[in-house]
Amino acid sequence: MKRLLLTGTALVAGLATGAQAQDASDVVSHYADMAQAKYTDALITAERLQDAVAALVAEPSAQNMTAARAAWIAARVPYQQTEVYRFGNAIVDDWEGRVNAWPLDEGLIDYVDGAYGGPTDENEFAALNVVANASFTLSGTDVDAAEITPALLQDTLHEADGVEANVATGYHAVEFLLWGQDLNGHGPGAGDRPWTDYAAGDACTGGNCDRRAAYLTAATDLLVSDLEWMAAQWAEGGAAREELLDDPQSGLATMLTGMGSLSYGELAGERMRLGLMLNDPEEEHDCFSDNTHNSHFYNGIGMQNVYLGEYVRVDGTLVAGPSLSDLAAAVDPELDREMRTRLSDTLMALGRIKTAAESGFAYDQMLERGDEAGEALIMGGVNGLIAQTESIERLVAALDLDQIAFEGSDSLDNPSAVFE
């Protein structure tokens, strides 16, 4: 009975392939359009951040520091929605470490609190402090860091000594330079770097304010140029778009791989459950700014975007078009309903975390040992993400993408560890 049913389904799916192949290219093409819109928005908001940083460096003040922080928070909104493109699209995954690497041993960059400690077994350069040191030795090579440039950050410091925690570039390096360490543990409050860390002359706190400003400027410039590059890859004729359009069936598999890998291994696993299991306030994605609730929430929105084919740009325009949901509804309406419901459930759960955090119960407080309310909030998100991953796997099978998903997916073929 069961066998017979399966044969029937497979037959229908097989015969339906013709129509699906045609739709697939439309869906994949719209997926590329959304990527272009998202990375362009990430670029636009990063340029606003760049302006705000320039103002802070030119005229250090509490007001300009606050404005730069606000620009960083805003820049994260579109960027976090792009993360669903990362897994599956090798071109994004290979590049991603430059802009969003995390977690970091921030002592590499600037001064840290005494409790941070010095070099560790895992990382000899955990406390290098480039801002304070114009020259140093790195893996046996003398480094001249008198001038802090984008090239120094990207080519010499980033992942120095082959250690991933040596994060010298990207959003989180900038975040650290704007907020500083969050020394409140599980208590309320984010990083509290004084604006005078950028002040001139005697007003300078923390030492080497000019070098700190140079670092912040270089890291922000690099972020802008990296995003510019990625937006171009999704434009007409761009490499990321072309690769998908060359084989739309495989492109569909890529779309679902991106959703599934972000849902399960990355967000539910590394970014949420791990921190909860370790009760470690440092184990939050935006640990300096206490913006983690937003990073998770917009990851969730990004996944829903891909499924529904709808994205709201930073200027409010709606980008809408043919979607995975349309394809799924044609093959298995019940499964399409299940997928939509589960994506919404996840957003509701991530929205609860955001609601609580914005009303004063920060993400790092939720991670505290024995905090049942915090644990329930975070596990709500984790469980939603696990449930939606099951539905994504069902979709892969329903759309007959099983073997393609396996062969075509970089992150399934070459997974690196969840804890690395």
Binding site: K2, R3, L6, T7, A10, L11, A13, G14, L15, T17, G18, A21, F87, E96, G97, P103, T120, D121, E122, D161, G162, G260, S261, L262, S263, Y264, G265, E266, G269, E270, R273, M277, L278, N279, D280, R369, G370, T389, I392, E393, R394, V396, A397, D400, D402, Q403, A405, F406, S411, L412, P415, S416, A417, V418, F419, E420
Partner: protein, 337 residues
């Protein structure tokens, strides 16, 4: 291309029908999963008893019980789904790799503060997974720095708490399997967890595939590091000298699962088995219990050859058995970065 898909779609179900999936699932449950978790529950029970009667870290009886219980875990360490995933039980038993040194840090914090949280099983279960399970116990039994922490009486209580907690997790997993999850798998297609038999098979296939990745990328890949920068101290359980043993035991257990999963396809089963046997033979010939040899080019090469053999077994699994069963591994915890 389209024609191929059509043919494949027509062909696959008939191929699978050669042996009903339910027989395969029953066999795996009755002869692989349930006995594995029964052994884990029993061995952790012995460990908890041994810790109760003697909590001296150098006690031979305690260390032997610890080794037996850890062995039992390694044999099922690829079965991290379902009951082992519920309430983070597999992490509470086995938090590794620990890239940020959370285990020694959390253990030192507990001992220094003489934290009363370890006094009851309920409160100890809220402690960071880094300070629970086999890898935390390894520090308590084998690491000189942790053993130098005072007071010794607290460390003794901590060893007892961790051993009893491991038994509790193992029992909870076994109970869930016996009372609920085995039934869900047997009746796949009749419940929401497994909406079809293919979903149950995919879960087992995915667990096996992820288990091989874990061995190749983490158990072997971490100490290998890069050619310029080998990292022997990142080997699994090197303090208790168990690194290579874990590779051997997990391969043997996973070979058993592979044979059962491929039962309906004898030719593929035999090829898969040869690939596993090749890797197991390599592992048994490697005279390097904690992969200290990775620091020399010749020693590293030997570990790399073993890693390749493990990856080859994974290759046969995904390239031959997956398509033959009409399934592919889904998403796993090793996705992501």
């Amino acid at each position: 291309m389209r024609l191929e898909i059509l043919c494949l779609a027509l062909f696959l179900p008939m191929a699978v029908a050669a042996q009903p999936a339910s027989d395969v699932i029953d066999d795996i449950l009755d002869n692989h999963i349930l006995p594995g978790f029964e052994a884990l529950a029993a061995e952790t029970g012995d460990l908890a008893a041994a810790a109760r009667s003697d909590c001296d870290p150098s006690s031979e009886a305690l260390r032997a019980a610890y080794g037996d219980a850890f062995d039992a875990w390694i044999r099922v360490s690829h079965l991290r789904f379902g009951p082992a995933e519920t309430d983070n039980r597999s992490f509470a038993l086995a938090f590794w790799p620990d890239t940020r040194g959370a285990t020694p840090r959390s253990l030192s914090d507990l001992v220094r503060a003489q934290d009363p949280v370890i006094e009851t099983a309920e409160s100890y279960a809220t402690v960071s997974v880094a300070a629970r399970g086999f890898y935390a116990l390894e520090f308590l039994l084998y690491d000189p720095e942790i053993q130098a922490l005072e007071p010794a009486a607290y460390r003794c209580a901590l060893i007892r708490a961790a051993s009893a907690d491991a038994h509790e997790s193992a029992r909870a997993i076994l109970t869930d399997w016996q009372e609920t999850h085995a039934g869900l798998m047997r009746n796949a297609g009749g419940n929401d967890t497994y909406q079809s038999r293919d979903e149950a098979l995919r879960t087992l296939f995915g667990a096996l595939s992820e288990g091989l990745e874990f061995t190749a990328d983490l158990r072997l890949g971490r100490p290998m590091g890069t050619f310029e920068r080998p990292r022997p101290r990142q080997a699994e359980a090197w303090r208790s000298g168990r690194s290579l043993r874990h590779v051997q035991m997990s391969l043997i257990s996973q070979a058993d699962l592979a044979r059962r999963l491929a039962a309906s396809r004898p030719e593929i089963r035999d090829r898969l088995d040869r690939a596993f046997q090749h890797a197991i033979t390599r592992a048994e010939a490697l005279d390097d219990p904690v992969f200290a040899g990775v620091e020399t080019p010749a020693g590293r090469l030997r570990v790399e050859v073993l890693q390749q053999a493990v990856r080859d077994a994974g290759g046969v699994l995904r390239a031959e058995l997956g398509p033959a069963l009409g399934i592919a591994a889904g998403f796993n915890a090793l996705d992501g970065d």
